[in-house]
């Protein structure tokens, strides 16, 4: 977009507490060297490099960035586009885990019939992101192996995130006593909109649970390679409504007996148009709305958005607020991992650990409720701080809870994790090689379970995390067992962090000075990210100078974590597939947004 200078000025001004980490040394030199070697324009924005690439050199530069030992950008974070006023901007965020360096690769495309070469050859993780970009913006990617829509269905009219998109359905009037839901309006409208047709009442219940695995109606749902008929192959759709898909994920599986031949996750059943809706809201209003993306990591969602928005608006956050953000975020992490533990044990067929996990969650719920006023979606953060200070005696309550939790963790080990059946179900199952995980942009516990030592809290330090002493638990094999252990140990680490934060929290205000008009400069952009319970939660904001964001892109860890499912599940049993899907700890609200 235009006015980059202004944007960068904003970002630098916005850095500090918000940006979390000042500009590390040597960025400028690196930028110059890259510019010289690749012959492209390289800027430093905050702590990140922005590489401006001409469209025809898109893949070449990408490969160079990946293979250049000085950059070593092997981690593919996300790819998206911005529908500018006169042109489209394609943005790919890369990261070098060894160099602790984040780069944005940008190129600009025409708004009419934009096309660019696909990055799938460089990073396999680009696959879904490019499909999403095609789905949302209508940008074609030459040489893409599987060029289908991903969130919406084939034949959907238009590409929603383009500014000239109009909802094909009639406009709805504002709220008021006159505006009432119509009971049983002709439901076929959805079918007309291209949704797959329902089965008759006599159909198998798992039509929706995937049972009869009927050849899917639209091409978007077809299992790849379903064409050639092999008699002994059983095609089954797990989900979108299946007890163990953790929401409305659909997995088109091809079984050979009990053995999984191929897996094709079909997502988008919970695509709630988050990004489009946000373009219509002002910066303050979006904060509580972010909770709904990853509804198990509400605080971290808000935090990711607030970091981006605060960077744009140059808002400082007082110390006490940062501490409160850390405390709530870590409690949130515990809460989320507990739920994962419960659902994972459900996937393995054990109900009781699930109930126990929720028993502890209820204690956490009480804590959150007495602080934030809600049980699940807290809406606690505000631009420039948090909404309110802690009620009296809250920290003592937290400490009481933490003690109980430590006791119960032992119980979990005795009950499930040490259990012989559990071990036989998880050891050596669903492993994914470290380099694949990185190339796919897998992040969070799943990445660390592969032994990749990467944690934003430590490696791109933000907020007040550098002041706390905590470990980053790692696994070796990256199988289900390691993922479980890593998450369990992360709970312990979070407990440590919360204790330290409570011990050292300073007095003071909990919101900083917030300007009256929340209007970032035109063209400013920022990518705020935090380490959520599932990995790198990021929010990429672009402003056009109005009180509403011009573009909001949500970087969802689950989206990338789910992508290599086929890699993980191929060759295992049905039961393992269920466990593997569970182990990715997906939240569909975040995958589909």
């Amino acid at each position: 977009m235009s006015e980059q200078g202004g944007a960068n000025a904003e970002l630098v001004r916005g850095s500090g507490v918000n940006q979390g980490h000042g500009v590390p040394a040597g960025r400028e030199e690196l930028a110059d060297r890259l510019a010289a070697r690749l012959g492209v324009e390289v800027k430093v924005s905050g702590s990140d490099l922005v590489v401006e690439v001409p469209r025809e050199r898109w893949v070449e530069v990408a490969r160079a960035l990946r293979d250049d030992p000085a950059v070593d950008a092997r981690f593919f974070s996300f790819l998206t586009a911005v529908d500018g006023k006169e042109s489209m901007t394609l943005v790919a965020y890369l990261r070098s885990l060894s160099g602790k360096l984040s780069l944005a690769m940008r190129t600009s495309l025409p708004r009419e019939a934009p096309e660019v070469a696909s990055l799938c050859g460089v990073w396999p993780g680009a696959n879904w992101h490019e499909r999403e970009t095609w789905d949302m913006f209508g940008i074609r990617f030459q040489g893409h192996p599987d060029h289908r829509r991903i969130l919406l269905w084939e034949g959907y009219p238009g590409h929603p995130l383009r500014k000239d998109f109009v909802d094909p359905r009639p406009e709805r009037e504002r709220v008021g006593p006159g505006d009432r839901p119509v009971l049983l309006a002709p439901w076929s409208s959805t079918a007309a909109a291209g949704g797959p047709a329902p089965s008759p009442s006599s159909g198998a219940p798992c039509e929706a649970a995937g049972g009869n695995g009927s050849r899917p109606a639209s091409q978007e749902e077809a299992v790849p390679g379903a064409g050639e008929e092999e008699p002994e192959i059983l095609e089954v759709n797990m989900g979108p409504q299946h007890p163990s898909t953790h929401g409305v994920l659909r997995v088109a599986v091809r079984f050979d007996g009990e053995v999984v031949r191929s897996v094709d996750p079909v997502i988008g059943y919970l695509h709630r148009c988050f990004e489009k809706i946000c373009e219509g809201w002002n910066y303050a209003q979006i904060v509580p709305f972010c909770d709904r993306n990853d509804y198990l990591g509400a605080i971290t969602n808000e935090w990711a958005y607030c970091r981006a928005a605060e960077a744009l608006l140059g808002i400082e956050v007082p110390e006490r607020a940062e501490y409160l953000r850390v405390i709530t975020a870590e409690l949130q992490r515990i809460c989320s991992h507990l739920l994962w533990f419960g659902t994972f044990s459900l996937d393995l067929g054990a109900t009781t650990p699930f109930i126990y996990a929720f028993r502890e969650r209820e204690m956490l719920y009480d804590l959150f409720e007495s602080l934030c006023g809600a049980r699940l979606l807290y809406g606690y953060l505000r631009l420039g701080g948090v909404r309110n200070d802690v009620p009296p005696g809250w920290f003592e309550e937290v400490e009481r809870y933490l003690r109980v939790q430590e006791e119960k963790l032992k119980e979990y080990y005795d009950l499930l994790i040490g259990n012989a059946i559990f071990l036989s179900r998880t050891r050596g199952i669903g492993a994914i090689p470290a380099e694949d995980a990185v190339a796919y942009g897998v992040s969070g516990p799943m990445l660390r379970a592969c032994g990749v030592n990467w944690d934003l809290r430590r490696d791109e330090p933000y907020s007040v995390y550098p002041r706390f002493d905590f470990e980053v638990p790692l696994g070796e094999a990256g199988d289900l067992y390691d993922r479980c252990i890593v998450r369990m140990r992360e709970i312990e680490e979070s407990i440590r962090i919360v204790r330290q934060a409570i011990a050292s929290i300073p007095e003071g205000d909990v919101v900083g000075k917030v300007p009256r008009a929340l209007r970032p400069p035109a063209g400013a952009e920022a990518y705020g990210r935090v380490e959520g319970p599932r990995g790198e939660v990021g929010c990429y904001l672009v402003s056009d100078g109005s009180p509403k964001p011009w573009r909001l892109k949500w970087r969802a860890p689950c989206f990338s974590n789910l992508q290599p499912l086929d890699l993980m599940a191929r060759g295992y049993k049905v039961a393992d597939l269920v466990a593997i899907v569970g182990s990715t700890d997906i939240v569909l609200g975040e995958v589909d947004r």
Partner: protein, 173 residues
């Protein structure tokens, strides 16, 4: 639905049969968890767990719609998902009830204006009880279930305002 509907029986018998049937139906509403989004974590997950225990009302989870009497639609229904919701509803055996949990399922909630969002699940299937909230806490859903029990208890019978009053007041009918 068999016995209750056969009109050959004299009125008094059918009424008493209906009473018995309604009584047993309201006491064993086995539910089909239709966890779509955020609300699914609160209901029926948290609601089924130890603190607020749906089993107290004789409700437990069935994975197959064939064996379920009650469908919780918890979360946002999208255009892409709508046919599946409808399909599952069709696959449930009569008699069946639907509880719309959360603002999204009731009315579209914050996503109402989204291009891919069905503004309220009652656009595609009949809904018996609406539980607003974003998300509603489990007690709110239990309260909704009290209303539903009162409703089930009167099905096919002359309405009984006393029951509704009890349910509104949050008493177990």
């Amino acid at each position: 639905m068999g016995i209750a509907e056969s009109e050959r029986l004299p009125g008094i018998i059918t009424t008493s049969v209906k009473r018995v049937l309604n009584w047993s139906r309201k006491n064993s509403l086995w539910y089909l968890l239709f966890g779509l989004a955020c609300c699914a974590i609160e209901t029926p997950m948290a609601a089924g767990a130890a603190r607020h225990d749906l089993d107290r009302f004789g409700m437990f989870f069935r994975a197959s719609p064939r064996q379920a009497d009650l469908m919780f639609v918890a979360g946002t229904v999208t255009e892409k998902m709508a046919p599946r919701v409808r399909a599952l509803y069709d696959q449930m055996a009569e008699p069946r009830w639907v509880v719309a949990v959360g603002a999204c399922a009731c009315y579209g909630g914050p996503y109402r204006n989204g291009y891919n969002v069905v503004p309220g699940v009652d656009k595609i299937i009949p809904v018996d009880i609406y539980v607003p909230g974003c998300p509603p806490r489990p007690e709110a859903v239990l309260y909704g279930l009290l209303q539903l029990r009162a409703k089930v208890l009167q099905e096919g019978l002359p309405p009984d305002p006393r029951l509704l009053e009890m349910a509104r007041a949050g008493k177990v009918v």
